[in-house]
Amino acid sequence: MKTSTNSQQKQQWSPSEWAGVASIWTLAEIAVAKLSRVFLWGPPGVGKSYLASRSGSSPVQVTLAEDLTVQELMGHWVPDRIEWHFHLGPVSRAYQDGRALVLNEIGRASGSVQDFLLGVLDNRDVASLALPNGQLLAPAAGFKVFGTSNTGPDQLDPALRSRFEAEIHLPVPNAALVEELDRRCLGLGGALVDSYRDPERALDPRRVASFVNLLSQAIPVRQAALLTLAERAPDFLAALQARGVRLPCDSY
């Protein structure tokens, strides 16, 4: 029987430090470039899908949901006057063309979709996809699958989980996003990263990016903060002031 206690949880270690890299994002970039089946998980907005979508040429992105059916992913028959044509779904198309397939929110897929993905995620040596039109597809060179999720890999079906070659936890925002925020507004990237030191109350990177976008369009600071962070706006601005973050507009 597997057991864990609170005292064990206290002994935190830093995976990136242990692996000798500057950030866990460096490892993630290596995995995305070198491996063909990678599971990325972490809080919303940190840049998981962005990283996955940068791999390969014209990646296919699909956001899974419980009501999405296998047919929508694999393909289905479409009427065309007096004939029916088989229309390839995004998964089959990526499989056939050798493109990267980014499956967002993979943990939210229905049981049947997860079962279907078992075949898609199989090792290249044994993988094949049988379509309802009788066609048998083999994965073309360059076919990669990246699964992203907000929940950990323990929420995945064990068989599905084992098909990924790597699983990477990305608990903080992408370094590229942080640099971009810092470039546009000195100190804001650091503030965003520091907010993840208190993960339960971390800022949403998408909202912070929207805040900066509004500022760059000459929207007053308070209005931009209220639009993007709603009731957290006063606290957000006060914390930035306490930190000495300089916003594009001089006045808070």
């Binding site: 029987m1 597997k2 057991t3 864990s4 206690t5 609170n6 005292s7 949880q9 206290k10 935190q12 419980e66 009501d67 059916t69 047919q71 929508e72 289905h76 028959w77 479409v78 009427p79 943990g107 229905s110 049981g111 049947s112 309802p132 929940t151 323990d154 929420q155 995945l156 079906d157 064990p158 650091g190 503030a191 520091d194 907010s195 993840y196 030191r197 208190d198 993960p199 339960e200 109350r201 971390a202 800022l203 009731e231 957290r232 006063p234 606290d235 957000f236 601005l237 006060a238 914390a239 930035l240 002031q241 306490a242 930190r243 000495g244 006045s251 808070y252």
Partner: protein
């Protein structure tokens, strides 16, 4: 339950995590940065968004900002001042002026809305109390009114005193506004000067304001709380082990997470046979009208499992609650929510520690014997169990009568506060009994 705002103390402090506590507007706020072994503390009015509440919170962010930039003397240094005979109220009052001007110079307008008392002052005000209040009013929106109100009392402040106080506040405001580091030596000499001129004689003199307006600390770092924190054991990281607050000191018991092998499948349970029709592009041809060119083409239907609760369910199995948690009821739950993660928790037989038993996950559940042979008694680990639940998938449901206890199965207000905070922040819904939960599920389907 009150809607709580989510503050961002880690942004101001550049460190974390924090324990966030809500209190009434009139009770002010307090903050303490995290250290290597302890989480930080950020307390203030988070359930209201009045101007005063905004000011109090901005003030606390200011304290953390000063700490981050190492502009204020360290806690050890401040404690040393007190040991050397300086009253806490002087330390706190002067620091507050620095913090307020630090924030105002950086463009914060909310902080000017702070007020120093809410329900009036006694007509006879000790000289040293009047002086600290006079000092603290500096820069606030209602400073003139508050100072006039002070002078109208027999506080015995001469024009020389007022000149001296004005010069002192100018120095403090300059420190804050220019973000200059507060030299401990200069700060101590200033405090000595203030205390020798206005009193009190003893660093432990009773603060009469506490009796006048309840909790006086409307703004600022409560040094008493700050210092007492050293003796507290505040949760480390995301796990809660012990907490204390007020006069009681009851910690949660240590919790063990038991993950037995899940050998039975939930997909073959009797309730799982019901399936719903889903329109799509394959299956039986049922809707010819949808095959028309202008329609969506989804003329075919296939039968799919009914959508069910796929989040997490935490069931309190302590004392009276344990009678209702039978294998039969658990199976009824899994029929309706086959893919849910289900955890049972309770204290052990001695009530010194507790355990959480994961009985279902990923559509698999544990054998009946595992559940029946799991020893359980009181609550003891409600907090750690709810922390576990907060890390599971949403929707999160907690089946409990709401009673929470710590070690030795004793209850206290701080444990209830902790649980309420977790429920609010992790968006957990409490259902009193399993029957209520099943009834809700029946209504949904």
């Amino acid at each position: 339950m009150r809607q709580l705002l989510t503050p961002v103390p880690s942004v101001a402090a550049g460190a974390g995590p924090f324990l966030v506590r809500d209190n009434q507007e009139g009770a002010g706020g307090c903050s303490a940065p995290p250290s290597r072994k302890r989480v930080g503390l950020f307390q203030g009015p988070f359930s209201v968004s009045s101007r005063l509440a905004l000011g109090i919170r901005a003030h606390e962010y200011g304290h953390l900002g000063l700490w981050r930039e190492r502009l204020e003397p360290s806690l050890r240094c401040l404690r040393g001042f007190h040991r050397r005979g300086i009253h806490n109220l002087w330390i706190q009052g002067t620091l507050d002026v620095v913090v307020n001007h630090f924030m105002m110079a950086r463009g914060n307008r909310d902080i000017a809305e702070l007020v120093l008392w809410l329900e009036g002052l006694d007509s006879a005000l000790p000289r040293w109390i009047a002086a600290t209040l006079y000092l603290r009013a500096e820069g606030l929106r209602y400073a003139s009114l508050m100072r006039l109100s002070l002078l109208a009392r027999s506080a015995d402040l001469t024009s020389d005193d007022l000149r001296f106080l004005s010069q002192t506040t100018e120095r403090l405001a300059c420190w804050g506004a220019q973000s200059l580091p507060l030299s401990p030596r200069h700060f101590l000499s200033l405090l000595r000067e203030l205390q020798s001129r206005f009193g009190p004689d003893s660093p432990d003199a009773e603060n009469p304001l506490t009796g006048i307006v309840g909790d006086f600390l409307l703004d600022g770092l409560d040094l008493g709380d700050y210092m007492a924190r050293e003796g507290l054991f505040i949760p480390t990281g995301l796990s809660i082990e012990e907490r204390c607050g007020g006069e009681t000191n009851i910690p949660w018991g240590p919790m063990e997470i038991l993950a037995p092998p899940l050998t039975q499948t939930c997909r073959k349970l009797p309730g799982m046979t019901e399936r719903k029709l889903v329109c799509g592009y394959t299956g039986a041809f049922r809707f010819p009208s949808r095959a028309l060119p202008a329609a969506d083409g989804r003329a075919f239907t296939s039968r799919r499992q009914r959508s069910a609760h796929c989040g997490a369910l935490l069931i309190d199995c302590s004392g009276s609650m344990s009678k209702q948690v039978t294998h039969q009821r658990l199976m009824a739950v899994l029929e309706r929510s086959p893919s849910a993660t289900v955890g049972l928790y309770a204290g052990g037989p001695t009530n010194r520690s507790g355990s959480l038993l994961i009985v279902a996950r990923n559509s698999m559940h544990a054998a009946q014997e595992v559940i029946e042979n799991w020893p359980h008694s009181g609550n003891v680990v409600d907090g750690p169990a709810l922390q576990w639940l907060s890390r599971q998938k949403t929707p999160r449901v907690w089946v409990s009568d709401g009673e929470v206890t710590g070690t030795s199965d004793r209850s206290s207000a701080n444990l209830h506060l902790e649980v309420n905070m977790i429920l609010a922040t992790a968006n957990i819904k409490r259902v009193p009994t399993l029957d209520d939960y099943l009834e809700e599920k029946n209504q949904e389907t």
